[in-house]
């Protein structure tokens, strides 16, 4: 028996004047399968929807086509009408005869309108229902990292009732927080105590992730700790693998912030200067200090802030003469402009140049040769201490995890892909998030905001232990699937896994939770084994076949 299709036309209050609705009705009524054609003037309002609902029930309509305005703002409303009438909301197709037809062209557009309706009818005829399903999700969260962001996130996640595991590769938590902690005055040790005292937080140190399988709500993570492998399930994974710094000096080998073996300790990192400032028994207070930043890396918000804070501290504590060499001060963070003005008022001299200064170090002094833009002259400054430019770099952990979890990074190697739709904290895989320095920025306000954002996201996903999803909207047919792995490799959301169906057969399984209904897999499957309900090949081609047909 032919599927009964009901077509509901709307003339938008009579405002659509370049479509002959009577003629259209006649033509549409003749389309095979169309058992009723209704004309309304206000389908989107209560009166119109009620009439539609009664008609669907009275005429036993099985598929609904609405020819009216754009589905963009109305599709979900009409789907609800279907549900209220006892029909699955997916058995619905819309023809845009207003924005993309009546409003788009001058003159009579009845012919095009009828074609658009035929296209929608052809599609509707083939539509199948999609039910909703409730899936359980694991409520535990894995936070990879043990620094400022990781610890903060774990504490907040615990507060909202989610059991969290901190996975840190070093032997202790807080290993990498030094610089941030000093500069922002955050008390890492009290945070670590809070974590250790929290029943809801499990701390695994000297531990690394070796493999992860699964998807959001159901990740199986293998962890190597103390030579043993353990496996645990988590609902979401938060990466907080931090950053590392490298002094941007023309030196071989490249120097880390902790190395002191540079010209007798006259060239230091910001962190080292912080420690010097805190050292009550410092041998010799530097009389002239030079700071350098922003030449090798445009992303210098943190170096700007660190320089300003340290310069002010050094002025206050030692009364040193301070010269700052940079290209541009990066003041696009809260309060930074204020600090910049304060520093200048205190006598800190800023020397801006396009090209980086030349550094030579000898006899306990460092010479900086630069051209000052304001003076227009070359100058050589001899100072006791140079705080060198530091590059912010991703950690080795960031790279390793990126390939373990199959997630993209940006062009500098930090998380995440530079796709604006992922900001602030998402990855392209549902259930995997990034916070803090591993995203490439160290502005405290932004880092704290990231942490709060991840807490609500993860909480929203996992707290109830259940998520309602469309059941099998995109499905790989096990009969047709040849396990070529193409869809698995191609899915941008990591939503497809290979599962064993019996002793000799493995097929692709698309997770209802992780799938984002893009259809890239359906297009690429060489065996045409993937059925994407609403956008199957047949449903798309059926629309094409309606174009230009008599």
């Amino acid at each position: 028996m032919e599927t009964k299709i009901g077509v509901f036309l709307c003339n938008c209050g009579g405002g659509i004047k370049n479509i002959d609705f009577d003629a259209a009705r006649e033509k549409v009524a003749k389309i095979p399968g169309v058992t009723c054609v209704n004309l309304s003037s206000n389908l989107c309002l209560e009166e119109g929807k009620e009439k539609m609902l009664s008609c669907i029930k009275d005429e036993n309509i099985e598929r609904v086509v609405v020819a009216a305005c754009s589905p963009e703002f109305q599709e979900h409303i009409f789907r609800q009408v279907l549900e209220n009438a006892g029909l699955n909301g997916h058995l619905f197709s819309m023809a845009n005869i207003r924005e993309q037809c009546s409003w788009a062209h001058e003159g009579d557009v009845t012919v095009k309108a009828v074609e658009l309706i035929k296209m929608a009818v052809n599609r509707a005829r083939l539509l199948q229902p999609v039910e909703k399903k409730e899936l359980s999700v694991n409520r535990e969260v894995l936070v990879v990292g043990g620094g400022f962001s990781a610890i903060n996130a774990a504490l907040q996640l615990s507060q909202v009732g989610l059991r969290t595991t901190l996975l840190e590769k070093e032997a202790v938590l807080g290993a990498g927080t030094g610089e941030l902690g000093n500069l922002y005055g955050s008390d890492t040790s009290s945070m670590i105590s809070a974590v250790e005292g929290d029943e809801n937080i499990e701390v695994l140190t000297s531990a690394r992730m070796t493999a992860t399988e699964g998807k959001i709500g159901d990740f199986t993570v293998r962890i190597r700790k103390d030579g043993e492998e353990i496996s645990h399930k988590y609902g979401a994974i938060v990466l907080a693998t931090g950053y590392q710094t490298e002094l941007a000096l023309d030196s071989e080998p490249k120097l880390r912030a902790e190395d002191e073996a540079i010209s007798g300790g006259n060239i230091v990192s910001q962190e080292k200067l912080c420690r010097m400032l805190e050292n009550p028994s410092l041998e010799r207070e530097p009389k002239t200090i030079g700071f350098m930043f922003d030449f090798s890396d445009e992303n210098s918000r943190f170096p700007t802030l660190a320089t300003l804070n340290n310069a002010l501290a050094a002025k206050q504590k030692w009364g040193s003469e301070i010269y700052v060499f940079c290209k541009n001060v990066k003041v696009d963070g809260e309060g930074v402009e204020g600090l910049y003005r304060e520093a200048r008022d205190c006598g800190v001299v800023f020397l801006k140049s396009e090209a980086p200064p030349r550094i030579t170090a000898e006899d306990g002094r460092v010479e900086i040769e630069a051209k000052d833009v304001l003076l227009g002259e070359d100058m050589i400054l001899a100072c006791d201490l140079l705080v060198a430019e530091e590059l912010l770099l991703p950690t080795e952990g960031t790279e390793v995890l990126s390939s373990l979890l199959n997630i993209r990074r940006d062009s500098k190697g930090f998380y995440q892909d530079e796709n604006v739709h992922l900001y602030p904290i998402a990855s392209e895989r549902k259930g995997i998030f990034f916070i803090g320095g591993c995203r490439g920025d160290l502005d405290l306000g932004r880092v704290l905001t990231d942490i709060s954002s991840v807490v609500i996201r993860v909480h929203g996903l996992l707290s109830s232990g259940k998520i309602v999803v469309d059941s099998e909207r995109v499905k790989a047919n096990p009969q047709k699937c040849v396990a070529c792995l193409t869809c698995i490799r191609v899915c941008p959301h990591g939503a497809i896994q290979l599962v064993r169906v019996d002793s000799d057969k493995e097929v692709a399984e698309i997770s209802d939770l992780a799938c984002d209904a893009c259809g890239i897999c359906a297009a690429i499957c060489p065996a045409k084994a993937i059925n994407f309900e609403g956008y199957t090949d047949e449903q798309i081609v059926a629309q094409i076949e309606a174009i230009g047909a008599p």
């Binding site: 963009e72 739709h421 392209e428 191609v490 259809g519 890239i520 094409i544």
Partner: protein, 130 residues
């Protein structure tokens, strides 16, 4: 079908752009037929070829701007498939069939209309040349 341009429009970018073009009453060619897809990456070579089999004169595949695809790689795949389809058509001697890929944002109605008009003009010119 004879003079139609079949436009596969991604629901995140091109489809809203086409709606905006309508709201602005921009002058759009009447022979445009829009097929809405969840991502340009859903569009397969077979869909493009089917359009030509049924008589379309041109196919336009529209997706998000390069680097802004909601599904990360969808628009890139679509671009490759569009190029591949055009190459296939040339191989079988259908040189005057064009497959274009357009990247746009949902709030770029002018870009949508400009592309549609450009293709229509090109079709007209090649017809007159014959």
């Amino acid at each position: 079908m004879s003079k139609e341009i079949v436009a596969f429009c991604c629901e995140h970018s091109a489809y809203p752009a086409a709606d905006l073009a309508g709201k602005l009453r921009l002058d759009c060619p009447e022979n445009l037929r829009v097929i809405r897809v969840p991502c340009a990456g859903r569009v397969d070579v077979i869909h493009i070829l089917k359009a030509f089999e049924r008589g379309a004169t041109a196919v336009l595949v529209l997706g998000c701007e390069d680097g802004a695809c909601r599904h990360i790689t969808g628009n890139t795949r679509a671009k490759e498939r569009a190029k591949y389809s055009e190459m296939l058509l040339k191989e079988v001697g259908m040189d005057n069939r064009t497959v274009d890929m357009l990247n746009l944002a949902p709030n770029e109605p002018h870009k949508f209309v400009r592309a549609a008009n450009k293709i229509t003009k090109r079709i007209k010119e090649s017809e007159e040349a014959r």
